[in-house]
Symmetry: C2
Subunit: 375 residues, 2 copies
Amino acid sequence: MSESNSVGIVKAQVAHFTQPLTLKSGAVLPQYHLAYETYGELNAAKTNAVLICHALSGNHHVAGRYSPEDKYPGWWDNLVGPGKPLDTNKFFVIGLNNLGGCHGSSGPSSVNPLTDRPYSATFPVVTVEDWVESQARLLDYLGIDQLAAVIGGSLGGMQALHWNIVYPERVRHAFVIASAPNLTAQNMAFNEVARQAIITDPEFFDGDYYNHGTVPRRGLRIARMLGHITYLSDDAMGEKFGRKLRHGDVKYSFDVEFEMESYLRYQGDKFAGEFDANTYLRMTRALDYFDPALDYDGNLSKALSRAKAKFVVISFTTDWRFSPARSREIVQALLDNALPVKYAEVTSAHGHDAFLMPDAHYHAIMRAYLEQIKV
Amino acid sequence: MSESNSVGIVKAQVAHFTQPLTLKSGAVLPQYHLAYETYGELNAAKTNAVLICHALSGNHHVAGRYSPEDKYPGWWDNLVGPGKPLDTNKFFVIGLNNLGGCHGSSGPSSVNPLTDRPYSATFPVVTVEDWVESQARLLDYLGIDQLAAVIGGSLGGMQALHWNIVYPERVRHAFVIASAPNLTAQNMAFNEVARQAIITDPEFFDGDYYNHGTVPRRGLRIARMLGHITYLSDDAMGEKFGRKLRHGDVKYSFDVEFEMESYLRYQGDKFAGEFDANTYLRMTRALDYFDPALDYDGNLSKALSRAKAKFVVISFTTDWRFSPARSREIVQALLDNALPVKYAEVTSAHGHDAFLMPDAHYHAIMRAYLEQIKV
C-alpha cells in the first residue's frame, strides 16, 4: 500500500526509566517503560517537537502502519503525515502510550520486573498529572526541552491543558480539543457503570484475571457498548442507524433486531478482545479525578495563571459528553489570564467522536494554525 | 400513619382471564391474570373510571399503602388521592401490573398453570399493543365501557396514546406525559446495553435462572444504574451530586469515591434485589418496538386518525430521554387530526424523572384539567 501523504511504515520504540516516579496517589513506580512512536525528524535546534496525548482507549500508534498488510493505520492518521494538517515534513511528532496502558507501556498487563509476573491489580491508579510527569521525562529522554505544541482530544486534551499548569515553560502552543476542565456528574456516572460492569464480572477476580487464565470480557464489552453511545450524538445515531431493522422484520426476541444493536455488539466484542480491563478502569478513573481547579479554590483561572502557551480550543456542536460549554469554560479561564487563545466551535453531527474525524472545517483550522507556528 | 389526602390502606386484586390472548408476536397466552388496584368508587353510570398505565419498572400499586407500617406509598401517590390532582373523591382510579410484569400479573416469574412451574424464558415478548388489549379486557371485566381518562408517563404514555388508535370510542381524555411516538436510536441503544448486561450475566441461564436457583443480579444492577443516568438530567445530577466526594478526600481506588457513585450503586443493588430480570428485558423490548406510525407509512398523524379523545400532552424541559421535541411530534399529529390538545412543556431540572414528582406547575395543570372533566 502506498499513500503519498502517509508517514508510511512505522515501528514502536520503548524507553526505560529507572528513576522512581512518585504518583499523585503517593504510590511509587520504582521503574517503568513507555512505548512511543515518532514521525518526522527532530530538527537540530529541537524546536519542532509535537506531543500527542491520547484519550481513553488510544495509544502511541498515532499514524502510519506497522506493515504494508496492516488493515488500519494509527488512530490519528488523518491528521498526522507529510502534507497533512500536522505536517511531519515540518514537525517531529511524538505519540506515547500512557502509564497504565495496555499497548506497550508499563501497566496492569505488563510484567513487573520485580516479580516477573504481570502487575495485575497491583499496578497503581494513575492520573493525568502522573501522565504529564512521565511525558516530561520522555521528552528529557529524547533531549527535548520545549514542545512546539502539545495536542490532545478528550482525555488527551486534559493532559494538554495540564502541561501548561506544571511545565508552562516547556509548551509554546497547546491544543485542547473536545475536552473539559473536569467531568460532570453524568460523565462520571457513565464511567462508574462501565467500571462496575467490569469489576462485577465473575472473571475479573479482583483484577487478577491474568493469573486465573480468564478475561472479564462480558464487563469490558458492556463498558465499551456504553462508551459508544456517549461518543456518538443522538442525531448521529439517528442518522446512522435510526430504527432500521437488521432482518427486515421484527422477530420478537432479544437477539439483534435493530441495526444499532448489531453495531454496539460488534464494537463491544471487538474491544473486549483487544483491550485490557484493568487499563480501562484506570483510564476512566484518571478522567474522573482530573480537576485542576480543585487545588486553586475551585478557580480554573487561578489554576492556569502560570500558563505561557498560545492556545487552540476546539469543541464540536453535538458533543454531549464534553459539550462546547465545557470548552468555553477553558477559554474563559485562559482569557482571564490574558493568554492568546483561538476558539472554534465546529458544527458536526458526529458528537464526541468528531475530534477523531477528518472534518474539513476542523482540519482546516488545525492546518492553518499549525502552518504559522515557527520552528 | 394518617394522611388526610391519602387513599389509605389498599389491597391488590387479581383478575383471571381464560379467553386466550393472541399477542402481536403471534404467540398465544391461553390464560393469564392481571394484578390491579382501584381507588375511589365507580359511579352508577360507570363514567368516572381513570386507567393509569405504568412505565418500565412500575406496577399496579399506584397509591396508598399496604399496611400502616408500609414505608413507601404507591409510585404515583403524590398525584392520586382524595383532594389530590387526580381526585379519588371524583374518579375511580385503576392501576394494573402489565402482562410480563413481576408484581402479580402473569409474567416470566409467575407460575404457568399448564406446567406448575415459572414461565421463565417461555413467557412471550409482549408489546404496548398487547398491554392495551389486556387492559381493555380488564375494563370489560370491571364492567367499564369507556374511560373518563387514560393516563400514562413514559412507556405508560405510549399505552395511553395507543388506546386512542385501537379503542378510540373507549377514551374520553388521554394524558400522554414525558413520552414519545417511538424511541430514538440512542434510547434503544441504552436499552440494548442494559439487556446485554442481563443476558450475559452467567447467572441468567438463558432466562431460566428460577430453575437454577440463581438471580442475574449483576446484570440487573448494571441495567438499573444505567437507567438512572438517563432518568436524571445532566443538570440534576450536577445539582444533586456534582463532584462531591464520599469520604472528603480521594482514595485512588475503584471503591466509591464520589457521592454519585454511592447513589448509583445503591439504586442498582436495591433494584436487583426486587425486580425480575426477564421482566426488565420485556419492558425494554416493548419500548423498542412501539412505533404506531410504522403501520401507517411512517405517518403518526394517519396512525391517530381514528382518535376521538381530548388530549393532554406534557413534557419536561430537561428530559433528554423523552425530550420535549418528541412530545411536540405527538401534539402535531393530534393537531393534524383537528383533535383538542393541551400541551405543556414544564420547566423542571429533574429530567425524565420529573413526571413522577410533585412539581407544583405540573400538578396544577393536571388538577385544573381533571377538575373540568365531567363524570
